[in-house]
């Protein structure tokens, strides 16, 4: 009997505690976000529409057409068209299509991307009138520089290093033969040392100075000077550098 009364009192107490807790919630500000009027404040990790980022500092496209995202996608909704550039021999992106009608926003593609190019944005308003309109192409996918900067900072992503400049490339390509010559030219002085004593005395200090200073533009002229003195030695040294490099490098930096 008393146990029953005690239990009744206890349960009544807990009901009252519950009622009081709920009543207290009246004093809280509503957490409702009135969506079309105010945009929800989404966290950076929110998995919304996919997009391709550009480097926030240099605005170059980050995709290297490695196709990892295409391969990992469980829905096979990424379609990359790329070709090997005839000039550089590197992959060049032609088109990049994502079918957002198929995508399930798992975010796997963003995890495998080696350059943090493909990212989930916070955009979720993609409704459209047809399924075809959900297939986004490269132009629609690529973010502007500002947007990329926004998402990079929001997702705490490290800013990628700029790619090796494509601008000096043509110049380098044109000077390929010279470059090929220039590279072995560095180890050349040590190789030349034993060969010629007196003739090298003039050119050797100049040659050892150059790699230390390492000014690409002045290199050819430096080589020119060396060339003048000994043409025949260069022919001999050219096939060598791969073998000589290991030993020659420390020499060069010390010099």
């Amino acid at each position: 009997m008393f146990g029953l009364v005690g239990r009744a009192v206890e349960s009544l107490y807990y009901v009252c505690v519950g009622l009081w807790t709920v009543a207290k919630h009246t004093g809280r500000a509503p957490i409702t976000k009135e969506f079309p009027d105010t945009m929800p404040d989404l966290p950076g990790a929110f998995r919304g529409r996919l997009a391709l980022a550009v480097n926030p500092e240099t605005s170059e496209h980050l995709c290297i057409s490695c196709r990892q995202c295409e391969r990992v996608c469980p829905d096979k909704c990424i379609d990359i068209t790329a070709h090997k550039s005839p000039e550089t021999g590197k992959l060049e992106l032609i088109d990049f299509k994502i079918d957002h009608g198929l995508c399930m926003f798992c975010g796997l593609c963003t995890e495998v991307c080696p350059t943090t190019c493909i990212i989930n944005t916070n955009d979720f308003e993609m409704s459209d009138y047809s399924r075809e309109a959900l297939i986004y192409d490269l132009k629609k996918l690529t973010l502007t520089q500002d947007e990329s900067a926004h998402y990079f900072s929001k997702k705490y992503l490290p800013i990628p290093k700029p790619k090796p400049k494509p601008a000096p490339k043509p110049a380098a390509a044109a000077a390929k033969p010279a470059d090929g010559v220039a590279a072995p030219a560095k180890p050349a002085p040590p190789a030349a040392k034993p060969a010629e004593g007196a003739a090298a005395a003039k050119s050797a200090p100049a040659a050892t100075d150059k790699p230390a200073g390492d000014a690409a533009a002045t290199k050819p002229t430096a080589e020119k000077k060396a060339d003048d003195s000994k043409d025949s030695e260069k022919e001999k040294a050219a096939p060598e550098p791969s073998a000589a490099e290991g030993k020659a490098e420390p020499d060069k930096t010390e010099g």
Partner: protein, 461 residues
């Protein structure tokens, strides 16, 4: 400013606006039918007998008109109020798009429901299927009539519905809706509906007993079944409300007050009265405890009667789709909906009349002061004798004592409604076996014991 305060303010504004709409409309309709039309008939040169007969008929119609105007608007308000209050309790905003700040949401919903297709399912018993919502709804119209007399402070227009056995009549009528539910569930030709309906029948039968016993206890203390008399007995102050033992504590409070005032003669008189009843104080305190528990039992039983959470097993969405009204659509569904909210209002108004002093103010003097003030203002109006002058208009429109009574009863009833919403926001649903066990093994024995205790305590006080 804190946005929560803002939300509560919006809720309060909504409540005030809707309540003014509801009771303004009811008041205006009553006045038009009961005062203005008879006056018009008398003023037009009809033969006296015909005119008086016509006015009598019109006056007799007033309560029905009042209820007919009141129920639909009130149900609309209650749905909106419930949704907004639930939103407040669950830290949301609730409907806030239709009309200014969502004020018209339920009006729009009602219009939508009325224009929806009315479907009768295949294999349903069409006659029963149509009759069920009507049988469910009709009692809530008929049942509130005696309460009107109590709520309006026995206004002369509502005297015709003041039955000597008022509360008995209300309770008898209140047990009819379950027939409508069972009919609807059976006629739908749907097993979910049938299970919902049967659960509802079981629940209504089990919980009606403690509900009625708690009302019986109040009638026992009051010594009458007449709701107007029961309300009038509680008019003195908070302490004479039935929830606080119907004035059991009053002599003791009077004693303390007299002692503080140093009124020795009065103290002597009261002490002499106590000498005859040595167990009096003890019995009075026990009686108050009994009455408070009875109030709790009434609220529990009432929640079960009107199928509200935590007793909403007949329409448990997770188990029964929507229970007995699964197959209903359009206007029939609207009627079910209307009736459910009207029933909630009815049980809350019964509680405020039976336990919380009806239309009387919680503090002595408050009601009288208000009535006198308003009466004084009305007397200043010019031309109150001439018919159809502004003075007559306002004088016949506003009755000070009715205004004050209506105000208090509205306040109490809607506070109880909001309490029911708070319960809904807090408690989870019972399981059917727990429901039955709680009803039969706990509530009914408890109310029987308390009733017997109250019978004896009443003699000792």
């Amino acid at each position: 400013m804190n946005p929560a305060v803002f939300e509560i303010g919006k809720f309060a504004r909504l409540t005030v606006i809707w309540l003014s709409i509801i009771f303004g409309a009811v008041w205006a309709a009553c006045w038009a039918v009961g005062v203005f039309a008879p006056a018009l008939i008398n003023a037009s040169g009809m033969p006296t007998e015909t005119a008086s007969l016509a006015s009598e008929v019109l006056r007799a119609l007033v309560p029905v008109v009042a209820v007919a105007v009141f129920i639909p608007i009130n149900a609309m308000f209650m749905v909106l109020c419930e949704r907004r209050a639930l939103a407040l309790f669950t830290v949301r905003k609730g409907p806030n798009r239709v009309g200014p700040d969502g004020l018209l949401q339920t009006a729009a919903d009602a219009v939508k429901l009325l224009f929806k297709e009315d479907i009768t399912p295949h294999g349903a018993d069409a006659v029963m299927f149509t009759a069920a919502p009507i049988i469910f709804f009709a009692p809530s119209i008929i049942g509130v009539l005696p309460l009107l007399a109590a709520a309006s402070g026995n206004h002369e227009l509502f005297r015709s519905v003041n039955l000597p056995t008022g509360i008995f009549y209300v309770l008898a009528i209140a047990s009819i809706p379950v027939v409508g539910i069972v009919m609807g569930g059976w006629a739908s030709n749907n097993k979910y509906s049938l299970v919902g309906a049967l659960r509802s029948a079981a629940q209504a039968i089990s919980y009606e007993i403690p509900l009625v016993l708690s009302i019986v206890a109040v009638c026992l203390m009051a010594g009458t079944l007449d709701v107007v008399k029961i309300a009038d007995q509680q008019k003195d102050s908070l302490l004479s409300w039935n929830i606080f033992g119907g004035g059991a504590l009053l002599p003791y409070v009077n004693l303390v007050v007299a002692g503080l005032q140093g009124n020795n003669e009065q103290v002597q008189a009261i002490m002499q009265h106590f000498q005859a009843q040595p167990l009096g104080p003890f019995a009075a305190v026990l009686m108050v405890v009994c009455c408070i528990i009875f109030f709790g039992i009434y609220i529990t039983g009432a929640c079960a009667e009107v199928n509200r959470i935590p007793f909403d097993l007949p329409e448990a969405e997770s188990e029964l789709v929507s229970g007995y009204n699964t197959e209903y659509s359009g206007i029939k569904f609207a009627i079910f909906f209307l009736a459910e909210f009207t029933n909630l209002f009815v049980v809350c108004s019964i509680a405020s009349i039976m336990f919380l002093g009806g239309g009387h103010a919680p503090l002595p003097g408050l009601e009288q002061g208000f009535t006198e003030m308003l009466g004084g203002i009305l007397k200043q109006l010019p031309g109150s004798k001439e018919i159809f002058s502004p003075g007559w208009l306002i004088n016949s429109l506003v009755n000070p004592s009715t205004v004050s009574q209506a105000f208090w009863i509205i306040l109490k009833t809607y506070s109880l409604v909001i309490f029911a919403i708070l319960i809904r926001a807090t408690l989870p649903r019972f399981r059917i076996d727990q429901l039955m066990a709680f009803g039969w093994k706990r509530l009914i024995p408890l109310s029987l014991i308390l009733l017997i205790a109250l019978t004896y305590l009443r003699e000792l006080v």
